[in-house]
């Protein structure tokens, strides 16, 4: 029965307005939530457990504030919640090193994560962690089945491919057609009482450092028209002015 780990990350609500102060993004008044793709990872991890048994541990790296998303994961059915106590900027190398040590400590045999986090959008963690563990990885999966081993559906060439994945593996999840389960009252009560297993793991130095954040350059006002007939002029401008046809 597999020991399943799911990585979750706290990010600003995707509808939040992002403010920059003094060259750094200021998140002090932003609501923090579980990164949307991580919700698909939690759902897939729970489906794996339902099919194959075992236990699911949700793992995050962060300060105290990051425990809310662990409770959210607990409320929908993960068995254990673990936080590696570390704050501040980490480059991909430092973060993956911390996660690799944590997954090894937990004895994980399969790791699920979102295809990317909604803040960085990088998508480096899943494949990078797998490489460090010497494991297989598949990314951007849009479906998974657990009928005698793990099979996933992922984009390939011009279509999709059904791929069997030998464990141990890191599987990073896109949305697909998955419906994410909602917590019930019992789950919420259990999550309230649950205690977070806090671990301390050494963070290696980062070689990539943030210089600054800035808002994207404002786009100059475009041309505006009233009425459908203007589409003829716009079509001509796409050829003559924008040069994109």
């Amino acid at each position: 029965m597999p020991n399943i780990v799911v990585l979750v990350k706290q990010v600003p609500d995707t509808n939040a307005k992002i403010v920059v102060n003094g060259g750094r993004v200021d998140l002090s008044s932003v609501k923090m939530v579980m990164s949307p793709y991580d919700e698909f990872a939690v759902e897939t991890a729970l489906k794996h457990k339902e099919a194959a048994g075992g236990e699911v541990t949700a793992l995050t790296v962060g300060g105290n504030g990051a425990e809310k998303i662990l409770k959210d994961a607990k409320a929908i059915g993960v068995d254990h919640i673990v936080r590696v106590d570390a704050e501040g900027e980490m480059d991909s190398n430092a973060l993956q090193s911390v996660l690799a040590n944590a997954v090894a400590e937990l004895g994980g045999e399969v790791v699920y994560c979102g295809k990317s986090a909604a803040d960085t959008g990088a998508g480096s963690t899943g494949p990078g962690l797998a490489e460090r563990m010497g494991w297989t990885s598949v990314s951007n999966i849009i479906g998974a089945s657990f009928d005698g081993g793990v099979s996933v559906v992922m984009p390939s060439g011009g279509g999709n491919a059904k791929v069997s994945v030998p464990l141990p593996a890191v599987i990073s999840c896109d949305k697909g057609d998955l419906k994410v389960r909602k917590p019930n009252v019992k789950g919420i009560m259990q999550a309230k009482r649950a205690s977070v297993d806090v671990r301390s793991i050494e963070v290696p130095a980062s070689t990539v450092s943030v210089v600054n954040h800035a808002l994207p350059p404002a786009k100059p006002a475009g041309k505006s028209y009233e009425g459908g007939a203007a589409a003829a002029e716009v079509a001509q401008l796409l050829r003559d002015e924008a040069n994109v046809l």
Binding site: S92, N93, P127, T136, V208, Y225, A230, A231, V234, A235
Partner: protein, 308 residues
């Protein structure tokens, strides 16, 4: 000067033209980029000629027949020189970039849209902010397409190096896409519909225009969530695909922050919406306040005339 290496972007066993943009980005980071072409047959590397690289290596292995992250990282690591590595920023290339970086114990910076010395700028928070980082040594950098101008000239001779990687995953079956149409993640022109289209049947109007101009058809999350006939694979936005085409035509899409996150970096944006206050108009180069019923027939016949 840092040694730089470009991993060619491949499409159907051929070097994708956007590879010349990656060479251009690598020249900004250091000098004399080496272009490495992952291939199963050295002939597939011929397209790498005159893309501005100082030399070209065909990395030849059966492992490159289809994408397996572990096998690709192993096979590339064996033949790619030490230094800073530049890759494309397609989902597969970003995945490979992360794996290759981890294999070498160096860091990865994804989705670069600007490079200045050792400083690299990428969009974060779905494009709501830009982040500039400094790389303090060799790194792997994935670069968005349609940002750097393609490099030209340089090497045309190809050195062939055999390499190997163990493929762990196995493909049980390939499933062709339901439609022959281009995927939004591959298209240079995209026409997308939102809930303002009224019904999924009306997407046929968008498809007709797409066929005229060689576009892919996309959709907003609202459309995908509302109508089962519009699959998630068409969704552009934060929980769908991030696209960067030359032209993005948004029809009946209000421009929720969720949608903007996936398409705001498009080079030109056309918006057609009956609501003059729709947020999409603030991001449009050409905004038409009209119903799609009024605008699309005119647009289609004009485009037919222009495309000849």
């Amino acid at each position: 000067m840092t040694q730089t290496i470009v991993i060619a972007e491949m499409n159907s066993n051929a070097v994708h033209p956007s590879t010349a943009e990656l060479v251009s980005a690598a020249i900004t980071l250091g000098a004399e980029p080496t272009l490495v072409v992952p291939c199963t047959d050295a002939g597939q590397a011929s397209g790498a000629a005159n893309m501005g690289a100082a030399n070209i290596i065909a990395a030849k292995s059966d492992a490159f027949a289809h994408y397996d992250a572990s096998a690709w990282a192993t096979a590339l690591d064996a033949v790619v020189p030490q230094g800073t590595i530049v890759t494309g920023a397609s989902p597969q290339s970003k995945d490979m970039a992360a794996r290759l970086a981890a294999r070498r114990g160096i860091s990865v910076v994804q989705d670069a849209v600007a490079i200045d010395g050792d400083q690299i700028t990428s969009p974060v928070y779905s494009g709501k902010a830009m982040q500039t980082v400094a790389i303090g040594g060799p790194a792997v950098v994935s670069v968005r397409s349609n940002v750097f101008s393609p490099a030209q000239g340089g090497a045309s001779d190809v050195a062939v190096l055999d390499t190997t990687g163990d493929v762990a995953t196995s493909v049980q079956e390939f499933m062709a896409r339901a439609s022959e149409r281009l995927d939004v993640s591959e298209a240079n022109i995209i026409i997308s519909g939102g809930r303002g289209m009224g019904s999924p049947d009306n997407f046929s109007e968008l498809e007709a225009i797409a066929d005229t101009i060689g576009a892919a058809v996309g959709a907003s999350r609202a459309a995908v969530d509302t109508w089962d006939a519009i699959p998630h694979s068409m969704q552009v936005g934060q929980t769908g695909k991030t696209v960067n085409p030359n032209l993005y035509i948004a029809v009946g899409i209000s421009g929720a922050i969720q949608h903007l996150a996936g398409m705001r970096s498009s080079k030109y944006i056309v918006a057609i919406n009956k609501d003059a206050d729709a947020p999409i108009f603030q991001h449009a180069d050409y905004g038409i306040v009209a119903t799609w019923e009024d605008a699309l027939p005119v647009l289609h016949s004009s485009l037919k005339g222009i495309m000849g």
